[in-house]
Symmetry: C2
Subunit: 340 residues, 2 copies
DNA sequence: AATAAAAATGTAACCGGTTACATTCGTCAA
DNA sequence: TTGACGAATGTAACCGGTTACATTTTTATT
């Protein structure tokens, strides 16, 4: 019946007209400012309901210079370790009214730089990265834009970036020392791709240094970072004449592959072979046998990263590097070495 | 030595002044518009470099009414099934220049509604949900705001929402039919919490209907949706006098728990017990034995969801419900039933 | 060389909130 | 009753891009 006007989304001015108030008052209600009468507040809220008003995020962001979004750049979401991390990040951010924008790089540093730029373009106010290794371009760009950023999963940043994570060298060191303390002198280490992952490289360095002066034989097996990779590496290891008495996997996901392969070959763990992982994924405590592993505080790390960025943005607190501890979780997949 | 001016971030007007051009031209260069001389473009680009200009995302969003962000609301990132899904969503969105904002609900529909609102507040132009079950408030709100949204993991939306996913009833039906076809007549079904998950309920309904008129005995075991839950349920099942000849897990993660428990109890799979899962996680093909499972096109689903939303936003294409197929992946954890 | 047509560039309004500052209103003391 | 003061509300500029439309410059045509 009535003419159909091309409906324009109602804004503060529409509300102002509808309520007979001014845009300032509308805005004050929107922001829960103190100096508004209860009565007018109700009037505005009622009008919002009726008109079906939704504030425009971009306009607010433009005026306040705050987008309330943090960007995270990770290699992939497909590995549960990153998913768990981001889960924690998201929860902490949500508590503070921030949103999390995600970008994946597929382990490519060049892509990482690109994606980081895109995140800023989308309005991210802070960035979270994995590892300390990044392109020079990224470091320079971070500096010029001045956007706050943190490196995670490492205990030391690069180019002045703060880090929130654990000491990967220590991780390798501690794990192998633990195995050595059980009497193992021939250890195979299974790890994912070295070239795209600085954390892996650091852990391997730790492994190396643990072996020094212990007349221990430590061998390395690089494979793909998944269950299949773990199985394949285990096959290779078990095929050799001189078999190790212990296997250390730089990630629990690889250990799962070893576990499966051991099952297939009827090798008893830990009786015939000790197995140790790293991460402490949610199944690690419930595998058969329960997996001895190095527990990494992934969730805690996510929380701290988020909190640091929020603290910086809200209270201008500078972001400090935080080193989180990692400890051996002794379960039943490892045992003392005994001569056969 | 020169006086320090409170540095204000350079904007298009600063660039205009610096280059002697107008803001319109700057903007044109920014947007790769055709009608700019190569020479002027270079001049502008050079000035941008020197001045260290970064465009303001909010201002652009306000002017264009496009934020280029999609929001996804999922129960958690800690389950790899959601992580894999979002990984695909993110990749597809990135290809189209969109960002992905994530919110987790912890399986709480009330929280889901709240988080969805927050995502819109942060500027999301489209929303992705899990499942078809949502609060009335959410449905109403979606309608009033008019924001495009899709339900995923289901083949039918609610309240007019399009769905992109698979038919969960069929999933239950197909799986159990497969086990029946192998001759199994006593099947235990392990599943996660029913009350917070409509997909689980639908799958169970399918399971039920598969059993009708087959003089088959089907029992249900509800547990937590993780490896531990699977193990516990398996313990319960294996404790009973009359044991099933097959177990069907509504999720591979539960099947992994069963696999471990079977290992602990020295039960041979599939010789003594057939085991079937659902999802096809990345380890499922490499477990011992490789797990027979119902392959769900999670990544494909993510891609389609993202593509649909982008198509709607860019080309005003209405979002159609898409039903993706799911098929039995026959591997070695299931075998024909044979009397003992 | 004159002129039409096309290409490049400029001007200024606009997007929809926020907020400094101005104004109005109500209350209470003198 | 008047004046003062604080609380509530209003006015208008501003955030930093985009873009319709106007203007200038270049190129093509006769």
């Amino acid at each position: 019946m009535g003419k159909r006007y091309p409906e324009k989304k109602p804004g503060v001015r529409t509300l102002a007209k509808a309520t007979g108030l001014s845009v300032a008052t509308i805005s004050r209600v929107l922001n829960k400012s103190q100096s508004v009468t209860g009565e007018t507040r109700d009037r505005v809220l009622k009008a919002m309901q009726e008109i079906g008003y939704t504030p425009n995020a971009s306009a607010r962001a433009l005026a306040t210079k705050r987008t309330r979004t943090i960007g995270a750049v990770v290699p992939t979401l497909a590995h549960s370790i990153f998913a768990r991390f981001l889960n924690a990040v998201e929860q902490e951010l949500a508590l503070n009214g921030y949103g999390l924008v995600i970008a994946t790089t597929g382990h490519d540093l060049q892509v990482e730089e690109q994606r980081a730029r895109e995140l800023l373009d989308l309005g991210a106010e802070g960035l979270i990265f994995s590892g300390a290794d990044h392109t020079d371009g990224l470091f320079k760009w971070l500096k010029t834009t001045g956007i706050p950023a943190v490196c995670t999963s490492v205990s030391q940043g690069r180019a002045g970036l703060p880090a929130i994570g654990y000491n990967n060298t220590n991780i390798g060191l501690t794990s192998v020392r633990y195995l050595l303390s059980l009497g193992h002198r021939h250890i195979s280490v299974i790890h994912g791709p070295k070239d795209t992952n600085d954390r892996t490289r650091m852990r391997l360095a730790g492994v190396q240094s643990a072996g020094i002066g212990k007349d221990a034989k430590i061998e390395f097996f690089e494979t793909s970072l998944d269950v299949e990779g773990g199985s394949r590496a285990a096959q290779d290891i078990l095929k050799t004449r001189a078999q190790p008495s212990a296997i250390f996997c730089l990630s629990d996901i690889l250990a799962l592959g070893v576990l499966f392969e051991a099952g297939r070959q009827n090798i008893a763990i830990p009786e015939q072979l000790s197995l140790m992982g790293c991460d402490d994924l949610d199944w690690s405590a419930h595998s058969a046998p329960p997996l001895t592993t190095l527990k990494l505080p992934t969730a805690r790390m996510g929380q701290e990263a988020a909190r640091s960025l929020v603290d910086f943005l809200e209270h201008a607190r500078t972001i400090k590097t935080i080193e989180l501890g990692a400890s051996v979780l002794e379960r039943q997949s490892t045992a003392h070495f005994r001569k056969k």
